[in-house]
Structure formats: C-alpha cells, structure tokens
Amino acid sequence: MGILEEINDAVIYGKRKDVVAGVEKALIEGYDAGVILHQSMIPAMTEVGLRFERNEFFVPEMLIAARAMQAGIDILRPLLVEGGVEPLGTVAVGTVQGDLHDIGKNLVALMLEGAGFEVRDLGVNVSPDHYVAAAQEGVQIIGLSALLTTTMPAMKAVIDALEAAGVRGQVKVMVGGAPVTQTYADEIGADGYSPDASSATRLAKQLLNIE
C-alpha cells in the first residue's frame, strides 16, 4: 500500500496516530501538502460519509474519522496556507436561536471541512444577526440546524433577517435537523435541505456549482 492509501485508510477507520505518522512520512517522502489533502484525506472523508449514508458507519465512526483527519490537517495547515491551497468555499453553520442541540450541527461542520470547505462554526443558540454578520463578512453558504419543531421558526427568522439586511442574494441558505424536511425548506425559502451530514456536503457543492 502506498503512503497515500495508508493515510486514506487511517482516516476512514479513525486511527489518529496512524494519520499523523502517515502524513509526516508522506511529507518526508516529498508529497505536496495539497496532494495529501486532496488525494488521500478528502476522499477518505467522502468515503466515511457514504458509509454513513449507507448505514455502515454511525455517529461514533464519523466522529473518530473526523478527529483523525483533523490531526492530519493540523500538521498540513501551515503548508497549505504557504502553498496557497484554496478551500472549496466558505460555510457558516450554527444551531438556530432557542435551540442548543450541538451534535447534528457539529457533524455537518466536520463533514463540510472534510470535503474541503472552510467552515465557521457559529455555535448553538445563534441569533439572526450573527448569521447576517457572517454573510456580510462574505461566507457563501449559511447552514441552519434545529432539533425541535418549536425552534424551527427561527430558521425563517434568519432568512428574513438576511433579506432585511440586503444580503439574502449573496448567500445560499441550507437547512437540516430532526424535524426539517424539503417541504419546510421550500416553505421558508431556503435554497436547500439535506437529511444527513454527508449529503450536506454534496448539497453545499451543488449550491456553489462545484463539480
């Protein structure tokens, strides 16, 4: 197995130490940081996402894979910056106001990062003006998460606030979470919905016309 495959495997199975060792070895062997990221680690996270969608991997497996990838990225980051490797786009994700459920939004953030997006995690209980501020600062996509029907209306409030601030046209809005559906997304005028963290990455790419 070549070193890129080794790293790929280690990310898929969440083996943090093996990822670190592999990345260090690959760098010594002369691999470019961007190549390690794009040809080994990102495909690994895509695979993790697909297995999650096929119900072969579950939340724990996704979390440890993302943690392993993160350990590799920590080593690569300065080199990626130096090499001018650009992210696919920038996404701000947050759980809407009144809702403090973290893990769904976290998985979406991890998978987007794992797909090569720059992700700004706005946290939980995020008020509409924080999303507006992110839009004004130039993020391309806003991702909204909610766990309960009682907090879903806050999604509409974000879209309204983006309109009111005159930035709705600048950003794409995607929504998700336990009670959220495509119908609801259409109803509130969101640009997209997806049922899980893996398909959220495809949705984000679609929204930015990537690939």
Partner: protein, 367 residues
C-alpha cells in the same frame, strides 16, 4: 366546546391489556402516553379541573413529594387514561451538566434545558471510580405515592432510561462515541453498572400490586439510522432490555418500549420484537416510519402505541390535524393492538388546543 375532563371516567387497564395483546376487540379508543410536560399537566389541571397545580421543578435526582403524584394520577384519570406513567427518580445521582436557553414553547415556564452532548459525568476511569454507584438505590416512593391515589381499574406503568441515560447524562453522546474507541472497557463498565441499577429498580417495583407493566424509555435511533452501530446496540443495550422484559413477564406484566429514531433499516425493531419480546412499541415520526405503516407491517407481531406525529401536532391547522388523527384511527383501530397518543410525549410546545383535538378525536371515534 370540548371538555377533556370526563365526569365519570371508567379506567380499565385489563381492557387496555387485552386490546394491546389482541385478545379483545377494542370497544373504545384507549389512550397511552409516556409522559406529559409539567406545563401541559398544569394547564390542563388549572383550566379544566379547576384545581391548583403544584409544580415540581427539580430533576430526576430528587423524588417529588406525595402531592405531586396525587395530581398526576388524578389528571390521567380524569382525561380517561387506563394507566398513569411513573418515572423513576434517582436520589443522590450527581446533577448532569445542562445548558439553558430561551424557551420557545407556548406554555414555557422558565428556560429550556438542553443536554450537554459533548461529554457527561464520566470521562475517565477516575470519574468512574468516584461515581457514587453505591448511593444509587431504587426509590420505590414514586410508585408508593402514586398507588395511594390510583382509582380502581387503573394501573401504573413504570419506567426509567438505560441507554438514553448513558448517552445523555453519564457519558454524553460525543463522549460515548469517542470512548467506544478510546476506552472500550470503560464503556462496558458503565453499561454494566447502570444496567444493574436499572434492573434493581425494576426488580424493586415490578411486584407491586398496582404496577401494570414497564414502559421503558430508551432512544436508540435518530433521523437516518441507529445512534450507534446496530451491533453495538445488540451487544451493549438489547441484552439489558431482554432482562427487563423477562422480569416483567415473570410477573405476568407487560414490557413496552419507547425509542425514537430509525430502528428499521438495520432490523433492530425485529430484535426488539423477537428477542427482547416487547409487547408494545412507542415513538413514531411520519418522516421516519408513519405509525400506520408500522402497524401494517408489524402490527400482527406487536402492539402499536401512540404515533401522532409531533411536528403535525404542533404545526398542522385544525381540519388537517383532525383528518390525520381520524385516518390513523380508521386504519389502526380495527383488529385492536393499538392505543392512541402522541408520537413522543405531550411536550410543552404542542399547542394545548391541538392536544385536546387528539383527545377529542379519540373519544369520538366510532361513535
């Protein structure tokens, strides 16, 4: 105006049991709930029973005083239930970390508490060893208190949480996820220790005369799958469910289970029915498994409990909601093995008038 309070309730737990087991055709719609939020019980009691409500605002680490159970039993009775649920309390249990936020519910009293999903009370062997396991003893008082006020014909259903307690409070969902790979023995030890506590609780109360069965609550799934791998559930969780069920059955009582989420794709539902031997299954969402579809597919093997979708209960306008509930009853009532109720719990953000619609449709069906 519909009055949800019955002038002469006639609870009949035996009839409910026979209907759920399929040995008797239902003569009316029986209701079932795992739980109602305090705000809902308070509003119903004050507005429709014209009685004061004494709110018990503490967590599961404290046992409410007797008057609390009196009013809970009274409310379920007057609303026409055959059972009243009694949740276990765990005095001396360390308080888990919560995060509080604005409560967006119509009947909100105070802030909404959210579980700390990042980590729980136990993050290491050291935490495990310092955890006051020995101080956690079954507390039969809730059942004793409730029993004192239980009208003839009514029975109590008892419950607590096992897996849910672990991922919610003891380890946290992310904590559990990482520890499953970083410290699997610690995870095993926590499941074993908490399992023994839950079993001890059920052992302490199942023989009590007015306990009709266990209505165990354990979310095992979410929107698209099980929360952890099905094989992990099969190893860590289901063997305990099987013990709880066997205990209930030894005492001639029923064992029903509440679990949210998608347990269908990987066949966990079949394990529950065939191996754990549950008598009834509770918790449905239309976007995962409509209750009517469940009843069509599994209804000959297990009773179908509740299932009126939470999102619809909250958001649907009256005519559509009524039609939906009627359609569920029309499909699920014939042949029995069905009891009407919410798809999860009567949460405080369900508009009260919508919950009344559920009760009214249930009362009116077939007449």
């Amino acid at each position: 105006m519909f009055d949800p309070v019955l002038p002469h309730p006639q609870p009949d737990f035996e009839a409910l049991l026979a209907v759920l087991k399929g040995t008797r055709q239902p003569e009316r719609v029986h209701f079932i709930e795992l739980s109602m939020d305090g705000e809902i019980m308070q509003a119903l009691t004050e507005r429709y029973l014209g009685e004061d409500w004494f709110e018990w605002g503490q967590g599961f680490e404290f046992t409410p005083p007797e008057p609390y159970f009196k009013q809970v039993v009274n409310l379920y009775y007057r609303l026409g239930f055959d059972h009243a649920p009694v949740w276990a309390t765990w005095p001396n249990h360390p308080r888990p970390a919560y995060r509080s936020g604005e409560n967006t519910a119509a009947l909100a009293s105070g802030q909404r508490n959210w579980t700390e999903e990042g980590s729980g009370l136990i993050t290491s062997w050291e935490d495990f060893e310092h955890f006051p396991w020995d101080d956690l003893q079954p507390d039969p008082r809730p059942v004793e208190y409730a029993t004192r006020y239980l009208p003839d014909g009514m029975m109590l259903t008892v419950n607590t949480t096992y897996f849910e307690h672990i991922f919610e409070n003891l380890l946290g969902f992310e904590g559990l996820s990482y520890l499953m790979y970083d410290e699997p023995e610690l995870v095993d030890a926590v499941f074993e220790h908490w399992g023994r506590k839950v079993l001890a609780y059920y052992e302490a109360v199942i023989g009590m005369e007015r306990v009709g069965g266990i209505f165990h609550a354990d979310d095992m799934g979410f929107k698209t799958s099980t929360l952890i791998a099905p094989d992990a559930l099969r190893r860590l969780v289901l063997p305990w469910h099987k013990r709880f069920a066997a205990l209930a059955h030894e005492h001639g009582k029923i064992f029903c289970i509440h679990s949210d989420g998608n347990l269908y794709k990987q066949g966990i539902i079949d394990d529950l029915i065939d191996d754990v031997r549950i008598d009834g299954f509770h918790a449905f969402e239309e976007i995962i498994m409509p209750v009517t579809q469940f009843n069509a597919e599994y209804g000959h093997r297990v009773a179908t409990l509740g299932g009126i979708d939470m999102d619809r209960l909250v958001r649907w306008p009256e005519p559509a909601l009524r039609q939906y509930i009627r359609a569920v009853l029309d499909k699920n009532m014939p042949g029995g093995r069905y009891a009407l109720g919410s798809g999860n719990t009567v949460a405080n953000y369900i508009p009260l008038e919508n919950y009344l619609i559920l009760l009214e449709e249930g009362r009116r069906w077939g007449s």
